[in-house]
């Protein structure tokens, strides 16, 4: 357990090293936040209460999207490129020898990365957004805490998806295709472009049931106080359910892949 805590701390420190890159990222998130906030304002001007959000809730959703973009790695990024490269070169065989659990090791590092991005790239855009627009920020500490739990679950779901993407490299040798599909799905189905409750009909129902909605839509709704009481438990259950299912899938795929490595190496 202590080992994984050290790995997580390492993941945090590693991203904390790139200070100029972080500042540049904050700048980008803020620019896109402004552009999207104005378009959402135009949209909610036409249709107040669209999707069950009022204007300030819609604007809050925009800035949450920018704040969580890197934390929940909605468009990919993080460990998967490195793992794909290790699989491609065969270095992963060394990892498998180590007395650690491969999946937990990468998860710990990714949690550290996410924690840094939440602090480094989440807070400043949110503050700037709240200065320029009237946002609906939670007033109770409990709601902030509930939000943090939901974000954490979102990060685990995101990790589990990207772990599966990376493992595909055992079969495809080149992970670029799978990574690109995951990027597209993350971009569209996380609700980053438009809240998923604005997606019409069947498309909306499917989008809200897919795991990517755990990355932004669910944490944002928790933040906006849309899930309370049993609703909150259900929201957590949805995220945790996908996290467990995808982590288990990753574990099974990993053991199949590991056997492949042994066969090839023997």
């Amino acid at each position: 357990m202590r080992l994984y805590a050290v790995v997580a701390a390492g993941g945090f420190r590693r991203y904390a090293t790139y200070r100029i890159a972080t500042a540049a990222g904050v700048f980008t998130n803020t620019v896109f936040g402004f552009i999207m906030a104005y378009t959402y304002e135009a949209l909610w001007d036409e249709r107040p209460q669209l999707g069950g959000y009022d204007m300030s809730q819609a604007l809050t959703y925009v800035w949450l999207g920018q704040a969580l973009l890197m934390t929940c790695a909605m468009m990919g990024g993080g460990f998967e490129d490195e793992l794909i490269e290790r699989i491609r070169t065969g270095d992963v065989a060394v990892d498998l020898y180590r007395p650690i659990d491969l999946q937990l090791w990468w998860l710990a590092g990714d949690l550290g990365r996410a924690a840094f991005h939440l602090l480094g790239r989440g807070i400043v855009p949110m503050v700037l957004g709240s200065l320029a627009f009237e946002l609906a920020l939670p007033t109770s500490a409990g709601l902030w805490l509930a939000f943090l739990v939901s974000v954490s679950l979102g990060v685990v779901v995101s990790f589990a998806i990207r772990y599966l993407v990376a493992l595909s490299a055992f079969w495809l040798m080149d992970g670029a295709g799978a990574a690109q599909i995951a990027f597209l799905a993350g971009l569209f189905f996380s609700g980053l472009l438009l809240p998923l409750n604005l997606f019409p009909g069947l498309l909306g129902e499917v989008a809200r049931a897919l795991p990517w909605s755990a990355l932004l839509q669910v944490p944002a709704d928790v933040f906006l106080g849309k899930h309370t009481g049993w609703g909150l438990v259900r929201a957590y259950g949805f995220q945790a359910g996908w996290a467990l299912a995808l982590l288990l899938a990753g574990r099974m795929l990993q053991s199949v892949a590991t056997r492949r490595v042994v066969v090839q190496g023997g």
């Binding site: 890159a21 540049a24 700048f27 980008t28 620019v31 036409e46 599909i181």
Partner: protein
């Protein structure tokens, strides 16, 4: 014999540039750019299936932007006072112009990484303009996906819109696309120049290129006046599509600008090139190798 010696002496006195710069520098740059691009094209075509897939991915990634706009219009009839075909014209023009610039210059954002890891030094010792080398580096033909997507949306707009075409309006469409691409190219070069100073800040460049493209996809009525002023007079992105396209649509210009500004995009593009060129020179002169 004596003559030959004289020539070599003269060349040595003037440094290596005298030996290599037989042609004017700009022509040399374009030729080098073409050669490097041809090399990357051959390497791309070695993996045809991969090229087709990444091009489709490039197309799909940009298409989702427009899908989001269409989803917005499933709830409203106008956005900022503009209908879907009108926004499609703005979107298609910005997307095509940006796609062209991205194809020609899109690799410029790798400059910061090159400064960091020291591989820029390799480019400096070659007798070819550095700008041409950086711009052509890893030339990615898959970016045709973005241009195709922009052109399709533009085509949809031109078919559905009810415009009273005049000669000037017809001429405005290609003029807008080419000048817009030129303006975006200048932004790419200026962004790369900035990275000589702030090495791992490629995202700042992205907010002006990708961010500018996203901004221009929506009508200026959506945005705050100060933001519109900024992208008209400071970073003149408004000349990429807003002003020429609003002329075609017969709409009011933002900030109460006079009608003739719609014809300025080529002039603005020229000025942007001059400014970006000066920025690039300043950056290149300030460059210090990391020594690695």
């Amino acid at each position: 014999m004596a003559e030959a010696v004289d020539t070599v002496d003269a060349a040595v006195a003037e440094g290596p540039s005298a030996v290599f710069a037989a042609r004017p520098r700009a022509a040399e740059g374009v030729r080098a750019y073409g050669l490097i691009v041809a090399m990357w094209l051959r390497s791309t075509m070695a993996y045809r299936a991969s090229f087709v897939m990444t091009t489709i991915g490039n197309f799909a990634a940009t298409a989702f932007d427009f899908v989001a706009i269409m989803l917005m219009f499933s709830h409203v009839d106008v956005l900022g006072g503009y209908t879907l075909p009108e926004i499609a014209l703005l979107y298609g023009a910005a997307g095509t112009a940006f796609g062209l610039a991205d194809l020609l210059m899109g690799s410029m954002d790798r400059l910061g990484r090159r400064v960091r890891d020291g591989t820029l030094d390799t480019l400096l010792v070659r007798p070819v303009p550095v700008l041409a080398q950086v711009a052509a580096d890893r030339f990615a033909l898959r970016r045709l996906g973005r241009i195709t997507q922009g052109l399709l949306v533009l085509g949809y707009a031109l078919v559905t819109l009810d415009i009273e075409w005049t000669v000037l309006k017809v001429a405005m469409v290609p003029l807008m696309l080419l000048s817009g691409a030129a303006i975006f190219c200048a932004v790419f070069v200026a962004g790369a120049a900035f990275q000589f100073f702030a090495q791992d800040a490629s995202e700042v460049q992205n907010s002006f290129t990708y961010g500018g493209n996203t901004l221009l996809q929506y009508p200026p009525t959506v945005f705050a006046k100060d933001l519109v002023r900024g992208v008209t007079f400071v970073v003149p992105l408004a000349f990429v599509n807003w002003l020429p396209a609003l002329y075609v649509l017969g709409r009011d210009y933002p900030l109460g600008l006079p009608q003739w500004v719609a014809f300025l995009p080529p002039v603005v593009a020229g000025l942007c090139w001059v400014a970006a060129g000066l920025g690039w020179r300043a950056g290149l002169r300030a460059y210090r190798s990391t020594g690695s």
